[in-house]
């Protein structure tokens, strides 16, 4: 028992657990596991791998949003802009140029960083709720740009991926597991970058600005600059995730440019627990799976046969998710991470009590 306790408190343990989890997820395509009700099929089938990869892409995107909202305390309603920039940017570069995948991604990443720096510098002139509204306005402009310029973006129909210059291993249903591993690599890389940033000096300072901007200024640091660095990093990561999303989905539609898409990210981060990296990851995975399963459930006969006043709400996944979100905000402050923390703390104190009574019995 003491060994377990020592493991729990050791700083290496979470990383070891994480590594183990990653290894487990990495071998899933080679296994034949079924989770009826959770996954649509066995773990090696392309449909399931596609869904899991999609969930990991969302978890990575949620991590980039966690940088803004969880770490820096910046409530942005425009994060979809950078994700869309990555997806659409890569799609357009691959279609209109003969660049190979990696150089094309580098070009798009540079562009995304430049846009994030410019818009970030502008929107950080205001703070709090006004910042939220301004980022929303910029994202809305991006959304309009995508929808209106059909000659470039293919408008409402969405932009299909041109595969001529993409490695053959990433194309086609049979290669879904390669894209799945790519998504896993993406998630791990984004997680490590976010973790590294949170431990860096800039990360500490920006976390301090969230608590007390005045104190940071008194210490002689400029909150504006560290906030801008955070915005640019989050925007760059979101663009990177958008590029993998394009490869995974073989295309992109204007739905990812809308403010609602950013709201989804906000929902994920809050469900997982604001400020928690693991919360963002778990929230992203859970949300995607839930959304997918609820959509399947909505079409099921069990729901379709219900009376109208039950059938209509239950066949709208977003209604259920939105309601769930409200309940979490009102009833579970700290989200899933908060619940986990409280459960662990309770278990620990219970164990400590048990340990103490044992010690007392042992001493005569």
């Amino acid at each position: 028992m003491t060994m377990i306790r020592r493991l729990r408190t050791s700083p290496i343990t979470p990383w070891a657990t994480g590594g183990l989890l990653v290894a487990l997820v990495a071998v899933l395509p080679l296994l034949d596991l079924s989770l009826p009700g959770v996954l649509p099929g066995s773990t090696y089938t392309p449909g399931t791998l596609q869904l899991l990869a999609f969930a990991m892409v969302f978890a990575a995107l949620a991590l980039s949003y966690h940088l803004l909202f969880g770490v820096a305390g910046l409530l942005s309603f425009g994060h979809a802009l950078y994700f869309a920039l990555g997806a659409y940017g890569l799609g357009i570069v691959l279609r209109d140029t003969e660049l190979a995948l990696v150089p094309a991604m580098a070009v798009v990443l540079m562009a995304a960083i430049a846009v994030a720096a410019a818009l970030g510098a502008l929107s950080l002139r205001v703070s709090g709720i006004a910042f939220a509204m301004v980022t929303l306005a910029f994202a809305q402009a991006g959304s309009v740009l995508v929808r209106r310029n059909a000659s470039v973006t293919n408008g409402e129909e969405g932009l299909p991926l041109r595969v001529d210059n993409i490695p053959a291993e990433l194309v086609g249903v049979l290669n879904t597991r390669n894209v799945y591993w790519l998504a896993l690599v993406l998630l791990v890389v984004v997680f490590l970058i976010v973790a590294w940033f949170e431990r860096s000096r800039a990360g500490h300072v920006v976390a301090a600005t969230r608590e007390n901007e005045l104190r940071v200024r008194v210490l002689g640091m400029t909150p504006f600059r560290v906030k801008l660095i955070t915005v640019v990093l989050a925007g760059g990561l979101a663009a990177l995730v958008g590029m993998v999303y394009l490869l995974l989905q073989s295309g992109v539609t204007p739905a990812v440019t809308t403010p609602d898409f950013t709201l989804t990210l906000l929902v994920i981060v809050v469900l997982g627990g604001v400020g928690s990296r693991w919360g963002a990851v778990v929230g992203g995975l859970l949300y995607t799976l839930l959304d997918q399963r609820l959509t399947a459930l909505a079409r099921s006969e069990a729901i379709q046969d219900l009376p109208e006043f039950l059938r209509i709400p239950l066949s709208e996944p977003l209604f259920i998710l939105g309601t769930l979100f409200i309940l979490v905000v009102v009833l579970l402050p700290g989200g899933l991470a908060g619940v986990a923390r409280r459960t662990l703390a309770r278990a620990d104190s219970a164990r400590a009590r048990a340990g103490r009574s044992l010690d007392e019995e042992a001493t005569p």
Binding site: A130, A137, L263, I312, G322, I326, V329, V330
Partner: protein, 291 residues
């Protein structure tokens, strides 16, 4: 000349719609520090229920039109009041959580509306006169513009009289400036919170019914699209300032109309560009004191 006049009056009509949404948003933010994402849903529900009542009444009569507007106002005020009492009040002073709850509410309600009324636009019929035009100095102005402008002016005047002449208006004006001090004078400011939600919801509900006649249809997304411009209007006008919201509504909508016509459909971009310029020059907005 007649084109300019048409664009100007159409812009005023659209500005009137923006104002009906933005006035409530701005008051709610100014007094409570809450950015209300559910405001678009108040508008949409007002529009749908206004239409539901109107289609059970004689088509195209003025009475039907008037009743649907009244229904929109009552529905907007009712759901807004319930939202404040059930979701906002329990999270008193926790501003981020309050915003999050309204975000969840807007997502859930839009999905619910899609479930009930479908995603396709539903076309609405108003009095014949609304679809006619009036000749003003050679410009043929669609009549619904005048109704919009009149409605917004009436709401604006009503709000000004309420804020200037009543005790609650006094509490709201003082609360926008310094809420803590209002409570320190022994005033229960929370009752004023419910009231601004009700008033904002009523204005949004009226805006919903009028928007359905302006656009010619109702859809679950009608509120969300207006809400974004209303947000921009409140930032440009200055958060918490009713006059600022009124001025910015007109400026934004007129700019949008002219840019759409003369600059190849760039209206939405010009609005965002205007927002960027205002932020660079005066981050608190035209008449705002809080950033």
């Amino acid at each position: 000349m007649s084109t300019v006049l048409l664009l100007l009056i159409t812009g005023l009509g659209l500005g009137a719609l923006y104002f009906l949404v933005a006035s409530g948003l701005s008051l709610i933010y100014g007094l409570m520090g809450v950015l209300n994402f559910a405001h678009g849903s108040f508008l949409t529900l007002g529009a749908f229920l206004g239409w539901e009542v109107a289609r059970r009444m004689p088509d195209g009569s003025w009475l039907t039109f008037g009743v649907s507007i009244l229904v929109g106002a009552v529905v907007g005020a009712t759901v807004a009041t319930l939202t404040e009492l059930l979701l906002i009040r329990p999270l008193y002073l926790r501003h981020i959580e309050q915003v999050l709850v309204t975000v969840g509410l807007s997502l859930a309600t839009v999905a619910l509306f899609e479930g009930i009324w479908g995603v396709d636009p539903i076309y609405v019929v108003g009095p014949e006169w609304l679809n006619d035009t009036t000749d003003i100095a050679g410009a043929l102005i669609p009549n619904d513009r005048f109704v919009l402008i009149a409605a917004a002016v009436i709401v604006l005047l009503g709000l000004v009289v309420f804020l200037k002449r009543t005790r609650y208006g006094l509490i709201i004006r003082a609360g926008v400036e310094n809420r803590a001090m209002v409570t320190a004078l022994g005033v229960d400011v929370r009752r004023a919170f419910t009231l601004v939600f009700a008033i904002g919801g009523a204005a949004a509900g009226i805006g919903g019914v009028l928007a359905s006649h302006y656009f010619g249809y109702v859809s679950p997304l009608i509120g969300g699209s207006l809400l974004i411009f209303a947000f921009i209007v409140t930032v440009i006008g200055g958060l918490g300032s009713l006059t600022g919201a009124a001025i910015a509504s007109v400026v934004v909508a007129v700019l949008q109309q002219f840019a759409n016509f003369y600059l190849g459909g760039t209206g939405d971009f010009m609005v965002v560009a205007l927002l960027a310029v205002v932020l660079l020059v005066k981050p608190t907005g035209l008449l705002g004191s809080k950033a």
